[in-house]
Symmetry: C2
Subunit: 319 residues, 2 copies
């Protein structure tokens, strides 16, 4: 029997559900429901140890990361999480020490992002499962659709560390200790741009979380707004450039299809650029302008005066 991809599974299940739902469904980083006085934002993100955790990842880091994924989606929509629930599947061989460590990871995330875990559910399962579910109640959110001609395209930080980090953790490559730590931490201790995202609500015309890869994120944003996205310079850093040069990797592929970065990709009107950079400084984000929005469709990269179409696919193991 053929194995189905995540998207195929979702589509198959959506087919069964009632038509009303599908029409009501706002496909965005978080699910929203209009209520009398605003918008209820709602998101679940499941962490599965056997598929999501490299073997070096500590239990408290898994607990923390399960929350970071959810926070990242709230962040990019400019929504402050109001409350969180955690559903746990705990393996039989988990010890009291493991449980204490799990709790410590949740507590760390609570403090880091000023969130409240107020309930949940506990079960026994073969795998360690952490399903984080968050809600927020807001006046507005930043949608995936809304980019205007002339808007600038920004990212909340550089790309590339996660893909390098994953390969280091899988012992496929080695590198200098400075880059090694940054790269490993982007997998083991990822950050979510919550403060930056909450501020963007005043400045951005469209946003999306980039965890499926930069290329696919740019395509989704361009398609929702029915605009052409032109990339002038990929969001990277000196140490990544140096690394790929030494290893002879394709830097464009690393940045565009590396994946698992919890950065925000946004479009902003030019007039807001100064304010966005001030917000980035305050939020400790290394925000970069990577391109601009034009009339048309597709995602293109300008290099040495030439325009090249970026291929549309999600993240993959690259190295």
């Amino acid at each position: 029997m053929k194995r189905l991809s995540e998207k195929q599974i979702i589509n198959q299940i959506l087919k069964s559900l009632s038509v009303i739902n599908k029409n009501n469904l706002l496909s965005d980083d978080i699910t929203t429901v209009k209520v009398v006085n605003g918008i209820l934002a709602f998101k679940c993100d499941m962490f599965v140890r056997s598929t999501d955790a490299p073997r070096q990842m500590k239990i408290w880091q898994m607990a923390r990361k399960s929350i970071v994924s959810c926070i990242s989606d709230f962040a990019c929509k400019g929504v402050k999480p109001l409350a969180s629930l955690i559903s746990l599947g705990i393996p039989r061989n988990f010890t009291q020490k493991d449980i204490v460590e799990l709790g410590r990871g949740f507590a760390k995330a609570e403090k880091e992002f000023h969130i409240n875990i107020i309930g949940g559910d506990t079960n026994e399962s073969k795998d360690l499962i952490i399903d984080c579910c968050m809600i927020g109640l807001v006046r507005k959110i930043i949608k995936r659709r809304g980019a205007k001609n002339g808007d600038l395209i920004i990212t909340s930080g550089p790309f590339g560390y996660s893909s390098i980090g994953l390969n280091i953790l899988q012992n496929k490559i080695t590198t200098k200790s400075n880059l090694r730590n940054k790269a490993k931490n982007s997998i083991l201790m990822p950050n979510a741009r919550l403060v930056f995202g909450l501020g963007l609500i005043n400045y951005a015309t469209s946003t999306m979380d980039s965890s499926d890869g930069l290329a696919i994120t740019l395509y989704e944003l361009s398609e929702y707004s029915k605009k052409m996205f032109v990339i002038d310079s990929l969001p990277t850093t000196k140490d990544i450039k140096e690394f790929v040069k030494n290893k002879r990797y394709d830097i464009d592929k690393l940045i565009l299809y590396g994946g698992e970065e919890y950065e925000i990709v946004a479009t902003i009107p030019k007039r807001n650029l100064k304010k966005v950079f001030a917000l980035a400084r305050k939020s400790k984000c290394k925000t970069l302008v990577i391109g601009h929005v034009e009339k048309g469709k597709g995602v293109f990269m300008k290099q040495n005066g030439k325009s090249k179409k970026i291929e549309r696919y999600g993240w993959q193991h690259l190295i």
Copy 2:
């Protein structure tokens, strides 16, 4: 290393979380957050195939039951579910046919309870995991606390079928086909008393879902309200009485500690009894008056003029 119980795991994790949360935490069947215009109700319930599904249970029944558990908690608090998310952990060997069946189960639950599944998350895991997360936005909920002296204690239906059903499915016992089907269905196709629960909001002083067993439910309600609960007649049926007589089981134990019944246990002022029975008829519930509330503490059973203390523990395998 010692294995921890569910309660111990929860307490251990709660210890790590910030004090503010613990104080804010309303311990009830659903988690609630006060917002400007009402109360946000919020609940996750995880279904794990390896521990929650007897081998006779079909995939669509698992999908349906994962939703019924969550609905049952909303039902007993008088809260209409506004939206649901489903986080899935799908085993590698799941076929397209299995996914279609899963979707069919969700669709069946949507229609049965008039709910909307509007999003979710899909992952790969060793076990089939279905985490159902629901929200509601209401003016008020029925709490666990609020029972008054003289109130009647009611259940939305009889108890005992689930325990018999589980034992039939595990091939430990056999019985007549009529009871067998009812008993098996109470595990494979449980109901949730949503219409009855939504109506109770106008009549009940306190409520709780009984899925942890009738005895523990009565104890929790009595402790929250600081009242004595006196049981005059256990909620059972003719066919269950006949069954236990033939098999020489202890009927009191079966009813009190059978567990996994998705019935509502509620206290109501005497003056509301007629209206509650009218509601029960409309909701197709076989509602029973089982006792009354008095000044004092503890849960007692009156039998042949004598009063006997009911032991306080949750459901267990009984037969």
